[in-house]
Subunit: 318 residues, 2 copies
């Protein structure tokens, strides 16, 4: 049993590699069976503390894994991260458990990589400005991923609590010492949106944080914040303006993507309008962007088998 810490993951596993792995994982999900049992939720406290057990098995790479994610809202009080996650990786020829991988950095990287893959296929080739709404942990991974697939020269950051935007700016600046681009912190989400070729929306908002009114033609949007059917971080106007709405998996989107589920339930927009799963675009079954004017939107809630593929890649790098 190999123990791989958060530091090990960050040191050994690049965003470039992670994007390759995620793209490969989506491709193999199209051509072979992947086993994803229902996840188990175990309640652990009156404050909503709970643990999720999310197993998946990818026969083609001969690994299975279970991600164990404990969400403890009370942790903020102790200055301990709210989400504690770890992955047990098992090889699937003999069922031997080969690694225990701390999974916060992995999750941040693979969540970024999903947007990276979508952006690679859906954003304009000449996209140069990136606007990030919400400056939490995940947004750093989003920026790493998008910097990998497009030549970004300007990043706009918006966060309700401005300090977090400054913190993220500092982190990104440190990450790219030789980069000539500029990072600007703005006061309104709509302002950020109006300046963007690529938008990342990564908030835990219950109601829309920006309006479709401000989305320009030719924009690609990665919405990754809302992973609950009752949360909606972009409005229905954004959805209606989008020429192509894609999702990581239809099943996940229908169960968890509030941005799509809520307008569908209200009859404002139909979930049947989803253009495709990201995997279809990766393998070329569906075309990505077709012209400079299209507005494209990825609503991503994540999908467990990516963790298995990324965990296996990390393990094999040791």
């Amino acid at each position: 049993m190999l123990i791989i810490s958060e530091e090990d993951v960050l040191k050994n596993y690049s965003m470039k590699q992670c994007i390759e792995d995620v793209e490969r994982a989506f491709a193999l999900s199209k051509r072979s069976e992947i086993v994803i049992p229902f996840r188990t939720l175990m309640h652990q406290g009156e404050d909503g503390a709970h643990t999720l057990y999310m197993p998946s098995f990818v026969p083609e790479i001969n690994y299975s894994a279970v991600k164990i994610a404990s969400i403890f809202p009370g942790n903020e009080e102790y200055n301990i991260p709210r989400i504690q996650s770890t992955i047990v990786l098992s090889e699937s020829k003999t069922g031997q458990h080969v690694a225990n991988i701390a999974a916060s950095a992995l999750t941040m990287l693979r969540t970024g990589a999903i947007s990276g893959v979508a952006t690679k296929h859906m954003a304009r080739e000449d996209a140069r400005t990136l606007s990030v709404i919400g400056c939490g942990v995940q947004s750093f991974g989003q920026i790493l991923a998008i910097m990998e697939v497009r030549d970004i020269d300007k990043i706009y950051l918006y966060n309700r609590t401005k300090n977090k935007a400054f913190d993220l700016k500092e982190k990104v600046t440190k990450q790219y010492p030789n980069w000539n681009g500029e990072i600007l912190i703005v006061d309104s989400a709509n302002d950020a949106v109006s300046k963007a070729d690529i938008i990342v929306s990564s908030t835990s908002a219950n109601t829309p944080v920006f309006s479709g009114e401000y989305v320009n033609a030719g924009t690609h949007i990665n919405a990754i914040g809302s992973c609950e059917p009752t949360k909606q971080e972009y409005d229905v106007e954004t959805l209606k303006k989008a020429n192509k709405v894609i999702v990581d998996t239809l099943e996940g989107a229908k169960g968890e993507a509030g941005g799509l589920v809520i307008p569908n339930e209200k009859g404002e927009w139909s979930i049947e309008n989803i253009y495709s799963e990201l995997a279809d675009i990766v393998v070329g079954e569906k075309v990505g962007r077709e012209n400079k004017e299209e507005i494209t939107l990825l609503d991503s809630v994540g999908v467990g088998f990516l963790d298995t593929v990324c965990a296996a890649s990390i393990y094999e790098s040791f």
Copy 2:
């Protein structure tokens, strides 16, 4: 994250401690809530390979854990154990994952300890002979446990493949260099049964391996082999002769104890005849053995929260 290997468990965790922990665990299951979500089964191959994810949360001790058990029938070909199991232990104030514990030795010890606790309360104080039907890995743990709670001076071993009985004899002999008792290998399960004050039945048999006809008055039986509702290792006569039938949990027994479920379904015996759960006897809500003549039977299929309690105890010993 602390990694605890099989060797660490065997070195640091005694059967004496394990019996104490299991007894304490049963007691606290009576006085406080324990959370046991449904276990998840993930199929992993045409030969029946599969992985079980078994989480449980014991609020009173502030730990949760998930046992991951991969059962790979094809492993025998590679001389790798058929069952690969590991436990991730998490403390439940902040959800932090604190240890990964190899779980074969732990499972063997705690399965033994269940029988140890039952034997302590149910076997005659003057029980001296132990007969073990089936000499696989679990039987070693059964012997360790029963040696802990009774002064055994004779052990009869029966196994269909005799070599395994000799292997177990050697292992037990090594374990107790100063013991004055005797270990005898016998040719028939019924012969072993007829000589016993305490019986351990630990086989993977689909149909009964011994007959109740040979069970003497005053015997205590620990039947731990059949953990599937379609397997029956002791016959209905044994069941009918038993004055007290106890189980680790009613829920587990009704779902998995073939020895009880099959006769119940056939109308040969009623599951309503179960005398009590082991926990009731541990806390004194029900009386154990009442005289020298009673035949008592524990049918144990195991219960997940014991793993959590034992894992926590092992972790805290480091």
